[in-house]
Symmetry: C2
Subunit: 220 residues, 2 copies
Amino acid sequence: MVEFAAGDAVPIAHPGSDRGCSNRLAYYWPPNPSHSPMNFCSQCGTTVIVRIPPGDDKPRHVCDNCGTIHYKNPLMVIGAIPEWEDRILLCRRAIEPRLGFWTLPAGFMELGETTGAAAMRETLEEANARIELGSLYTMLSVPHANQVHIFYRAQLLDLDFGPGTESLEVALFREDEIPWDEIAFRTITITLEHFFADRKAGAYQTRSGDIHFKPPASKT
Amino acid sequence: MVEFAAGDAVPIAHPGSDRGCSNRLAYYWPPNPSHSPMNFCSQCGTTVIVRIPPGDDKPRHVCDNCGTIHYKNPLMVIGAIPEWEDRILLCRRAIEPRLGFWTLPAGFMELGETTGAAAMRETLEEANARIELGSLYTMLSVPHANQVHIFYRAQLLDLDFGPGTESLEVALFREDEIPWDEIAFRTITITLEHFFADRKAGAYQTRSGDIHFKPPASKT
C-alpha cells in the first residue's frame, strides 16, 4: 500500500486546440450525471430552496412542502487495466468529454453492482472484452469533479475485442507504444505510470491518492 | 492486497428483539439518502417516467419536457479505524438505523471531499477525535444497499474525544473487549476482524470484497 499526494499529479499534453502545449493539464473530467441543477422537489414537485437543515452544517436542497432533504454525493468511476502478455488494452473515446483521447475502460458504477462487477461491465461495454478481474490497484479522489476513480488489475481472456458504442477504436499497447500525450484523464495517466513502474519492480501495490484541480497554464 | 468473497460475510448477533439469536444477520444498512422515490423532474418540475433512453440498456427516470435523464448511482460510506496503543475507538450510535449499536466512525462522503478528508471529518463529527490518517485498509461493496464502504487505518492524536451529536458514547476497546454482538454493520465487523488478524500477523494488507444480502434466519 503506497499513498501519494497531490504533488504527484501528472501534467499531460492537451491535444486539439492546444496540441504541443505540454504543460497544459487535462482538466476536463467526465460530467457527473447526478449533479445537474436542482430546482424542484423530485418527490412532490414543489420548488426547493437551499438551506442548512437542523442538525446539519452544510447547505442542502430542501423541500418545505414534503420535508425531503435532497443530498448530493460524490460518484464512483470504476475501470480495469486489461493485460495481454506485455500489452495493455486502451479505448479511444467516441464521446465527449475528451472525444478522440485514449482511456482505460471505465465508467460510472450502477445501482446494485459491486465495484468489481462495474469494472467487468465497463470493459465489456467499451471494448467488447472479457476479463478475469485481479486485485484493486488504484483509488484516486478527484474532489473538484466530485468523483472517486477506482481501477482493478485484470487479465484479458481472449483477443476477440473491438469498439463498443462509446469507443472509436480499441487496441493493445506495449509500454513504449502508450500514447501518453493523448490520454483522456489524469487518473488514467497516473494509474498506467504506477502499473509500468510496479511491473518493472516485480511487485504491484494498491495505491490511493488525490488529484486536485490545476487551471490550465497561461500561454507565455 | 487480499480479495475475499461473499462467503466471508460474517454473521453477527442481532440484539434487541432478537437478542441471543446469534445466526441472525445484521442486514439493516444505513439508508441511502440519494435514493428516495423520484416522481418529478428536479430541473423543470414535470412528472418523470421510467424508460430506457436511446443508447442505454437500463431504465432511468426521464423527463419528456426538458429531456433530462436522472441517473442514480451507488454512494460511498467512508470511515477510520482510530488506534491508541493497543486499543481501537468505537462510537455507539445515537441515531437509526442500528441505534445503540457500536460502529467505527464513518458516514457518507460529501461533495468536494477526498476519501481521506471524509474519514477525518466523520471521526471529528462522531467522536470529536483528531486522527493522523494511515493507509487505505478495506473497500467493501454492499450492492443491495447501493453503497461501497471504505475504511482507513488511523492514529488517534490525543485522548480528548467524546460523543458527537450522532453518538451516545465513544470509547477505546482492546481486542478482547470489542462488543462483537453489538456491532452495527457487517462491514465494521469484517474490517475489525481483518485488522486484529493482521496486527497479530505483523503486516497489514489493503483488502477489497463484497457483502451480499442474507435474509434473517428463520426461527426454528
